[in-house]
Point group: C2
Chain length 597, copies 2
């Protein structure tokens, strides 16, 4: 309003044109918003010879005046520009979809014309949020003495886990660079070099089969510190996320960040990235002896009833649904259908209504007395008026199914609130995972993660070979926990890291444990093993998935909405039409041929 | 000094160990400097059972005390730590070279053990400077409303100029991504999308044969603006460099940044990136009529003397060397040898001494009277006591040689001062360059640079085909100047950019001018031509060579010193031993074969 009377020159895009008699109103859009332009009668001749159209690029000079018909919905809604002069800087064909929040363009069309899609306010807000997160993270890390050090993109192929993208070398015929899956080994080398606090906001590359929420290239906020223990890292990086909350969302996150062991997360939520915005913990009525060795199931509550479904199952898990006693038959049937979907894969769903009057009514009445049902609902933590849902089956699948059911119910019940943010550290991950096809151990995090100090001996003094595949959980390696941690936000892993191995002998043992021969370890990671001989300090770090973090902060499920030029699910950039064929001359220079050509 | 008496815990690397009787002194090095530790007699038993060595990682706890024997050369030189407890965190083998400013390690060894080289203070200072430049640039651009927007790395191969690095696509058999040579087209699309101020500090890739000062991957500070003219860009980005000077070097660069047309730079300095820390301008005694059409040579001063060397030469160029009249015969012979080196390639060097007494003495006395010599030295701007040096030969080679000679003399005479910084804008570059092998035009900057508005018609109304190759300079295209600009610092190009084409028809004409068929233009740049149809705003930008900028600010000739993990001249990372062979399984998945295998 303070600008009224001023002469201004604006430039932008024509959003809408409305004529009222001799007067033309144009909404002009630029990066900063929308401003209404008024073209009075005097400009009609010029407008007739130079007609405007949607998305034309217009420069207008005029005077700021107060709007008679104010629009409270936009920041510049109380003023308009009385245009004195205008120039059409460029014309526009009719765009293939409307440049509006609720565009009529489908996904494919918007991706092909991404440069037009990026004009929409909804997309612009996402990229602005992304930049705000980037800026906030950099400021925090800078203030905490971290140094941005660029690591190379043309590196060595050392596939372990995901596939590398590779780059044929013209100058070294028959040889290839790889694009980094992460700067992991480089940041560790920087620690060896004495740069005790490193960060980078950096592109990483993984040639994986893409799911909806994966991109072949993605961005990490990558950090590493020397002379630290896990506690230092947790404190530093929950500080980072709190700072981002403050700078980007205006949220003062003053609560202590909850911490939970991986085992507790799996036990209570069936999931290593639980959404703790709501409770509804899993009650393990029954579990096999091979898992959660230190936890006690409650099989006494269900045993001896001659109920074949429970007796024959490895695991029986229950949750209490608050206020669920009133669920209709239809609602229960729908939940049953839901758990029987192939993605969930359960055979059925048992329930116990814990009515307001204290009675229990159940789908398993035939096998359990009301007294026994009462014990079960108590164990599940149900109150009067609640519903207890029970799944039975193989431990791993059933726990996963219960986790999914919990999230689905949380969603249905409105417990996963968009504007509530709950951070959680999940700690003490297993060091190894069992790879069934190869009957060997793989690193759950990556091969540079250190075991808990108290378990280093277990690792060193045992043969990694798994002689009894069926009973792999009995192998001592299955019990080794890592100094590894994930940061979870509202049920999404937003970052993960570990304290690293920094001794050559232990790193060699790790490669050995993963089935890598000494020769292979030297070929792939000789530089790192070498570096560990010259005074490597204790160190650890973390990497945040920048795309995902932005998506969650922006309240979206899809990271694609937060990437300026994303690829589709086949890894294609449909705007560029890439990848594409290249000339024979290029292939020749690179000393490669296409197969079957 | 304020810390005296405090209990501290330090961790770092053992730089040196000195024993004086029962007392051991250790210099401990960390990222922030060197601190002297004192181990008293009480710790001798522990030191004997746990002996220290160079580059051991040590944690020491003790009390800060005043040093009796202060070392003014280092910041912590007035204190030392009276060690009470210590722990050896990791041992070190004897490093292959000393971790000192004046290391005994050769280049190859230091590159192989780059993680140790990075410990040296000289290298660390470079990376710190790099980070300071990065931070300063980001702050300035942020404050000026620029937005960091990440552009993709897996894009489409559109080689024009340099070769692309390519990445075979596993999911799209027979197809390849390319790594970007720059984000050029993406930043232009962002302008079309309405993000009117964009920046990125971004890796770029060029598969070129490497010279000493090139890297296959390098970093740019990449910027673009909409609704601007050249003047806006020059102002904005000289502001950026001035800010970097201030933040990084503490230099207030308040002088106006000099501006010079490309033609004047070539005319006066023989070079499109002149070092203007000193004068010594070239005097064109003679030039062919095909170049510098608007400039006047002084051939009248040398013609008609029957001196075959000048009469037969296309160009005769002179410079005045201040105080050079006293150069000895030996010095002149050395300069003559210098210009006859194959890199310079001249046949000889003529000189005229303009003695203090006003007489002239010359190597071409036989052909020119003293009066004529006097006219020549006047034309060259020589004062009494100066020396005039003259080169003759083909225009292009001679001008280049004179430029080199000028720089060499400037160096010898101490006129290229390390601590003096002179910025310069070179403007109005030619739009096209003639590619002799192909007898066609190539873009001097890149195909997206716009011609001067006054010359658009010349471009559109003329056939780009060069019918008379020998006389290509007579083609109207040879005269077209671009809206392009380079920023030059002390004789180095640190950045360059242009106002872009933003109309489809003109862009198509440009592709046509470069000999690209319509089909090829659509295949490679269809997305950009398409974008120009939907309301592209006028825009322009610039990219700074970040590695080079850092090197110059750090006073070094080599960009490698300012890159944490550089590649050698064969494009190899000798530390990683990359590039390297990859598995047949990987090749198979990528649907490629090696040639001759």
């Amino acid at each position: 309003m303070g600008d009224i009377g001023k002469e201004v020159t604006l430039a932008g895009w024509v959003q809408t044109i409305r004529k009222f008699g001799a007067i033309t109103f144009v909404d002009l859009r630029d990066r900063y918003g929308i401003t209404q332009l008024v073209f009075n009668e005097a400009l009609n001749t010029q407008l007739e010879s130079h007609p405007l159209g949607r998305e034309f690029v217009l420069q207008a000079k005029g005077k700021v005046i107060e709007r008679t018909n104010k629009n409270g919905a936009i920041p510049t809604g109380s003023i308009e520009i009385d245009v004195q002069q205008f120039t059409i800087l460029n014309k526009s064909a009719v765009p293939p979809f409307t440049i509006q929040d609720d565009t009529d363009g489908g996904d494919d069309l918007r991706m092909k014309y991404r440069y037009l899609d990026l004009r929409r306010n909804a997309v612009k807000k996402n990229l602005e949020l992304r930049y705000a997160v980037n800026r906030s993270a950099r400021n925090y890390l800078h203030e905490n003495n971290f140094m941005d050090i660029e690591t190379p993109f043309l590196i060595k192929s050392t596939p372990e886990g995901a596939r590398d993208f590779v780059v044929p070398s013209r100058m070294n015929a028959g040889q290839f660079y790889a694009l980094p899956q992460s700067p992991q080994t480089f940041k560790q080398l920087l620690m060896v070099s004495g740069y005790d606090r490193y960060y980078q906001v950096v592109k990483c590359f993984r040639d994986e089969d893409l799911r909806a929420d994966r991109q072949p290239e993605f961005t990490q906020i990558d950090c590493e510190m020397s002379f630290v223990e896990q506690e230092d890292i947790l404190n530093m990086f929950e500080g980072l996320i709190k700072r981002i909350f403050k700078d980007v969302k205006g949220i003062e996150y003053n609560d202590a960040v909850e911490r939970m062991t991986w085992e507790d997360a799996m036990w209570n939520y069936g999931n290593d990235k639980p959404d703790i915005r709501f409770g509804m913990r899993i009650c393990t009525l029954k579990k096999p002896s091979t898992v959660f060795a230190e936890k006690q199931d409650q099989s006494i509550l269900i045993n001896g009833a001659n109920f074949q479904v429970f007796d024959g199952a490895e695991a029986v898990l229950a949750i209490a649904v608050s206020g669920g006693a009133v669920y209709t038959r239809k609602q229960l049937d729908e939940l049953t259908e839901w758990v029987k979907r192939p993605q969930i894969g359960m055979k059925g769903l048992a329930y116990i209504r814990f009515n307001e009057d204290g009675t229990c009514k159940s789908s398993i009445d035939k096998f359990y007395t009301e007294e026994r049902l009462k014990s079960i609902v108590d164990a599940a933590g149900a109150q009067k008026g609640d519903l207890v849902l029970i799944l039975a089956g193989a431990e791993e699948r059933t726990r996963k199914a219960m986790s999914e059911l919990r999230l689905e119910l949380g969603e249905q019940m409105g417990l996963r609130k968009k504007d509530e943010y709950k951070l959680l550290w999940v700690l003490d991950f297993p060091l190894f995972e069992y790879a069934e096809e190869e009957n060997r151990w793989v690193a759950r995090h990556h091969p540079f993660t250190s075991p808990k100090p108290s378990q280093i001996d277990t690792m060193i003094n045992n043969d990694p070979v798994i002689h009894d595949a069926a009973n792999y959980l009995a192998h001592p390696y299955a019990q080794i926990k890592a100094n590894a941690y994930d940061m979870v936000l509202n049920g999404n892993e937003i970052g993960g890291g570990s304290i690293r191995i920094y001794q050559r002998a232990l790193q060699e043992k790790m490669f050995d444990a993963l089935g890598m021969s000494q020769e292979e370890a030297l070929h792939k990671f000789g530089f790192l093993l070498g570096a560990f001989e010259y005074g490597a300090p204790p160190h650890g770090g973390i990497a945040f998935g920048f795309d995902r973090l932005c998506a969650i902060l922006g309240g979206s499920e899809s990271i694609r909405d937060f990437i300026a030029f994303p690829k589709n699910n086949s890894g294609r950039d449909v705007m560029l039409d890439a990848p594409s064929t290249i000339d024979d001359a290029q292939l020749n220079e690179l000393n490669i041929l296409l197969k079957n050509s």
